[in-house]
Symmetry: C2
Subunit: 330 residues, 2 copies
């Protein structure tokens, strides 16, 4: 380290900070130190490179899905902020009940992370106890978890924006395709997005018709099936609100196959603003997913720096009008 500092013309402390990616080092200085280290092929020992704020320099990120757009996009934003702060991301996919049990049993025993971020999943009481054992900061991203600082959208508000848009267009017979994660049937997103529908219809003085609500496992093909069920009603809806864009895109496939025009014969709205929504000209409620990851990363950095962590951050959603919604035919 002394050789690196000498060669770069900086103090040992500055060289150390530059190599550990400390935020308060000018980029020119850091470049000079990195160049000197490179010339000397200086190898930082894992011990020496530990951050002042943490112990291991690593954060565990726990996700119930990796390949789905929402989770992968949030993870990209989160990794970006943590890496920029010199923290490494340990990725844990807990896909089913066995994975979850295994993860929560073993992680606390490993003592090898400074913090944990749980993405888009609920934490059960016994899991909470295991996390507490670790004594590290815990942040929830992409969904609220009781007692943990969180970054998430307001699902009730997002659902209201969707159904209110259909009501504004004067639809009176509105169907809902509710999507649940089979592994997490109790996750709050579903109640919030469902309650929004019930409340909006009630406020508009419309009757609650259980035939108009179809609940399916999350996914595009499920959305296609759900739309078939809505089309088989004696009195089908004139508009459909889907809990997510991927489900809505499945519903659109069924409508196309049935020779129905969108939006003339049926309006469709989703939630997310998935990249495919733009390509499919789908009206949707946009949520900033990459931002949720970045904000969760920043929230975690504040906690690691010893700053007081508030209860949470709710990020706004907004209506994106495209070509899949219009007033019903008279």
């Amino acid at each position: 380290m002394a050789d690196v500092a000498r060669r770069a013309g900086v103090s040992m402390a500055t060289a150390s900070r530059a190599l550990s990616n400390h935020p308060h080092v000018a980029s020119q200085t850091r470049a000079r130190v990195l160049a000197a280290a490179e010339q000397l092929s200086y190898v930082i020992s894992p011990e020496a490179s530990r951050l002042a704020g943490g112990v291991t320099g690593r954060v565990a990120v726990v996700v119930p899905h990796i390949a789905r757009w929402f989770f992968a996009t949030l993870l990209e934003g989160l990794e970006w902020v943590l890496r920029d702060a010199g923290l490494d991301v340990l990725l844990y996919h807990v896909g089913d009940a066995t994975d979850r049990r295994d993860f929560f049993q073993r992680l606390p025993a490993r003592r090898k992370v400074d913090a944990v971020v749980v993405v888009g999943m609920p934490i059960r009481d016994e899991e909470r106890d295991r996390l507490e054992l670790m004594g590290v900061h815990i942040v929830a991203a992409g969904g609220q978890v009781e007692n943990y600082p969180y970054v998430a959208i307001d699902d009730l508000s997002a659902g209201r924006q969707a159904v209110d848009h259909l009501l504004f267009l004067r639809h009176r017979r509105i169907g809902m395709i509710a999507a649940v994660d089979p592994a997490e049937p109790g996750w709050p997103a579903t109640p919030g997005r469902t309650l929004a529908y019930t409340a909006a219809l009630a406020e508009a003085g419309l009757p609650a018709d259980p035939d108009l609500v179809v609940t399916v496992p999350w996914g595009g093909l499920s959305g296609a099936d759900a739309m078939s069920r809505l089309l088989s009603l004696r009195d089908p809806p004139t508009a459909v609100y889907a809990h997510s864009d991927e489900v809505a895109l499945g519903a659109i496939r069924t409508l196309r196959r049935a020779g129905l025009r969108i939006p003339e014969d049926m309006s469709v709205i989703g939630i997310d603003d998935h990249p495919m929504a733009e390509l499919a000209d789908l009206t949707t409620i946009a949520q900033p997913v990459h931002d949720q990851g970045r904000l969760a990363g920043r929230l975690l950095l504040s906690l690691l720096a010893g700053e007081p962590g508030g209860g949470g951050v709710t990020v706004p959603t907004h209506l994106v009008v495209r070509g899949s919604t219009a007033p019903p035919r008279v």
Copy 2:
């Protein structure tokens, strides 16, 4: 550890193996040991839990994109195999030239992984030198990298399957939308998928018309733009081969907006079998992406176990006929 072993009624060695997720422990025994450890709140020290085969128990996975379907799906398969073997995944996203330089400068200096998996990206000579410094195993997944064991599809063969299908349907004027990653213009996927088109047309005795080839940055909206350019030709193609499904889905949006019917007025084929391809009824060349991740994980485990690593694994692709391709109108 002695307490855990005694309580579980096993030897110290067995208890240690069970806690470090060693493969040769019966699941009942492991459950008993975990229960005993749980009762005693036994906390494994990071040192004690190190795998026999490695030093750190961690693998670095380097990806140029996280949020894109291909990369996220491959990562899901890879993480599944590594986690099952008791290895942790450190995720590094190298999105642009600065990230890459920073990553390759710093990773070797950290000495904190047993192996590196590079996903769907080329490695430059100077980066190769940095990796060599680490003296760990390196595997390429989702694309071949010279001198490293790899798991990938044969892009030339996949491209031939796509273009040969269009030729079999008797298309004679076939357009190509070539997608390049702006950050990685030289990545072999592009040449392979492009060479396939050139070779197939030449073998069929068709002239090479440069107007029929449009090269765009990867993405759905780019595909939409590329299709507009093909439609603006005096003599547009009757079929279009896109380098990826997401690009093909963009092309389909343009065709729909132009009031053209698919496949009657224009056939479209992609590569990937993205989940949205099924919803959009897109004919495509399917590649097993989750499998590429899993196979890369297994290849890495073999190398870590000291088994000889072959040159690589090429996974097969196959045609999936859906509703977006048909013979041209006479």
